[in-house]
């Protein structure tokens, strides 16, 4: 069986270095991190979600009440649906906007590519919160856009629709997450075998056919990675909807936080479990449909 080092094109002396660490040991740190920061908290949440808890007092009595409260309440399902929709919209927009840019990047000379990639990740050098607040100075009543429009005489009073609604939340989220989808798609596109595109065109395929039948299937790992990097954190967004969203700008995590703050740990935990289960199911379905094993040749 080929080792990881055999599969990766690295120098022999570095391969030896890799061999020094037994594969199981190499996985230990990430396994421990996953266990302590994901599996264990989820386990606790799962237990809490099926117990009767009155404020801080746990009674070891099983109940489905917490799940029923969430799943039978049309309001909370509506908020969950809205959150899924907003996460999906953000993901799709990020992928659609990233694709041409990532393609453009791969066509640049290597040295310029590196500079451009630094520019892509440049926003990460500033704080997340600062980047969210920066949009308020752009979209706000006295923001850049409104001042510009008023100075140009296009509008008489500030446009109030630019901020504090679901659209502005998606807009800011796209800005926040687009570097992730760009990097994922760029990595994929860079490894794309261009001879396949040329072959398809030589065989008479039209550009749209080349894109749909050759490029898109080969891009699935990149799209899948983009989905993971954008959809999941967006579904768990708390700060952006709270700052940029309007009076009705609740997303599912805001609701979960409010349940916990109201000491309804059982209901909050049930919501978390449902949300995580939903995300895991989505990832698995996507992974299956993307047939990553075949694409990666595992």
């Amino acid at each position: 069986m080929a080792t990881i080092a055999d599969r990766v094109n690295v120098a022999p002396e570095r391969r030896a270095g890799i061999r020094l660490v037994p594969p199981l040991l190499a996985f230990l740190p990430i396994t421990l991190i996953d266990f302590f920061f994901f599996v264990l908290p989820m386990l606790v949440m799962s237990i809490v979600s099926v117990l009767v808890i009155r404020e801080f007092h746990i009674t070891f009595q099983l109940t489905a009440e917490n799940y029923l409260f969430f799943l039978k309440n049309p309001l909370y399902l509506k908020v969950l649906g809205k959150s899924l929709l907003m996460a999906l919209a953000t993901t799709v927009i990020c992928i659609v906007l990233s694709f041409p840019f990532a393609l453009f990047l791969t066509r640049l000379p290597r040295s310029i590519q590196k500079t451009m990639l630094v520019l892509v990740i440049l926003p990460f050098w500033t704080s997340y919160l600062l980047r969210v607040y920066a949009w308020m100075t752009i979209l706000g009543e006295r923001g850049l856009i409104n001042r510009g429009l008023m100075n140009l005489g296009i509008v008489e009073s500030p446009i109030r629709l630019l901020l504090y609604n679901d659209y502005s939340v998606v807009l800011v989220a796209v800005y926040l997450y687009i570097p992730f989808s760009t990097l994922a798609l760029y990595t994929n596109l860079e490894r794309l075998d261009r001879s396949l595109i040329r072959a398809a065109m030589d065989l008479g395929a039209r550009p749209i056919q080349v894109f749909l039948h050759v490029v898109l299937p080969l891009m699935l790992p990149g799209i899948f990675a983009s989905f993971i990097f954008v959809f999941i954190p967006m579904l768990g967004e708390y700060v952006t909807p709270a700052i940029i969203g309007g009076a009705h700008g609740l997303m599912i995590v805001n609701v979960i936080v409010s349940q916990i703050q109201a000491l309804r740990f059982g209901i909050g935990s049930a919501m978390v479990v449902v949300l995580v289960a939903l995300i895991l199911a989505l990832v698995m379905v996507l992974r299956k449909s993307a047939r990553l094993e075949k694409i990666y040749g595992f």
Binding site: F56, G246, A247, L250, Q261, A262
Partner: protein
């Protein structure tokens, strides 16, 4: 549960405290407080409290006087504090900051312990309204050392709203479409609506009152631009003209003006006004109890309290700084932030955990998320 009855106790307390007032404050003499009396204490003092409590210089002074460090962990909410203290206990925290009616709740949960605040010289500097407080006392022992207090005044943009409001119902005026913002404190928002519909106790509404409050919230929603999580956000929204009405503590107008905003005027609805007072409690089994008590004595010295009042622009529970402000010819400032009107305490509907907090949350979520 016993603490469900506290709103009644609170009302009793407020009624009794109404008699005392600014006169007591005016006549009060500053106590000769020796910050950090203790010579060398075992520390550090671990504090879980709100960020607006203390300045670095007083922490430095305390270190110099006692050899004790003070470690601060920022608090974000009473329920979260309660959870943290339950988990960490006296090994992890010595002091916890708690709001008004949450204090008895903490005591009932067995996470804080009473202490003899009245034996501290700093006690003499306390406003009489606070001295008469029964809700925080067990016999002569105190559950918390009082700190700040304030009504949540309804501040309105005087440049946009020309006719001064006369009732809380002005919030429902269609002219204010998307011009109101309130902090995302679900039970407070519902309590405001409780005041609007004439609920007997806005923090312990009956099902019928809650139904009315829900309808009122529905009527209010078209006028709400957003429910931001932080007060600072309200200041910013009012300053840039996005909103014309908001509920902020005493110095709201000054804070908005300083942020480059318009002239705001305060309105205390005759139907009632929400307000708070808060304090610091000694965590049960606190590892560094002596040092924690020394810190409590140290932190309320006028030398530190005055800059705190000036910075955060809301009154504190101590008279000393008020005297200094008056002597310095800054009585107007003190008046603007209600510092010289402690009798307002008796008119406030004190923020607290409703016994049926889940019902409050559901109403908020149903109307806001719907």
């Amino acid at each position: 549960m016993a603490w469900m009855n506290w709103p009644n106790t609170r009302r009793e307390f407020l009624k009794t405290s109404a008699l005392a007032g600014a006169a007591a404050a005016l006549g009060a003499k500053l106590p000769s407080v020796d910050p950090a009396r203790a010579a060398t204490l075992e520390g550090p003092v671990n504090v879980l409290s709100w960020g607006s409590r203390n300045f670095q210089m007083q922490i430095d002074d305390f270190l110099q006087a006692t050899g004790c460090h003070v470690n601060f962990t920022g608090a974000s909410g009473n329920s979260e504090n309660l959870a943290k203290i339950k988990l960490g206990g006296g090994d992890q925290y010595d002091i916890v900051g708690v709001d008004a009616l949450w204090v008895p709740k903490f005591y009932q949960e067995g996470v804080i312990e009473v202490f003899d605040f009245e034996k501290m010289p700093e006690y003499q500097d306390l406003f009489d309204e606070f001295k008469k407080m029964t809700v925080w006392k067990v016999g002569n022992q105190w559950m918390a050392q009082p700190w700040a207090w304030s009504p949540l005044v309804l501040w309105y943009n005087a440049e946009k709203i020309k006719t001064p409001p006369t009732s809380i119902n002005f919030l429902f005026d269609p002219e204010l479409k998307q011009r109101i913002a309130l902090t995302r404190q679900q039970e407070d928002v519902v309590a405001w609506m409780g005041i609007a519909v004439g609920a007997n106790n806005p923090y312990a509404m009956t099902d019928e009152e809650l139904a009315k409050a829900k309808e009122a919230l529905k009527r209010l929603m078209p006028n709400v631009l957003k429910f931001p999580p932080q007060e600072e956000e309200l200041v910013r929204l009012a300053a840039d003209g996005s909103i014309w009405v908001t509920a902020l503590s005493a110095g709201g107008a000054i804070r908005i003006k300083e942020a480059g905003g318009p002239t705001m005027k305060g309105f205390i609805p005759p139907e009632g006004v929400i307000g708070y007072f808060d304090g610091d409690c000694i965590v049960k089994g606190a590892k560094h109890r002596d040092a924690a008590l020394a810190w409590l004595a140290h932190r309320v010295h006028s030398k530190y309290v005055l800059p705190n009042v000036e910075k955060y622009k809301r009154p504190l529970a101590y008279k000393g700084p008020l005297e200094i402000l008056k002597k310095d010819g800054r009585g107007d400032f003190a008046h603007t932030i209600f510092y010289d009107q402690p009798e307002i305490l008796s008119k406030m509907v004190i923020i607290g955990p409703p016994p049926n907090v889940g019902a409050y949350l559901d109403i908020f979520n149903e109307v806001v998320g719907g």
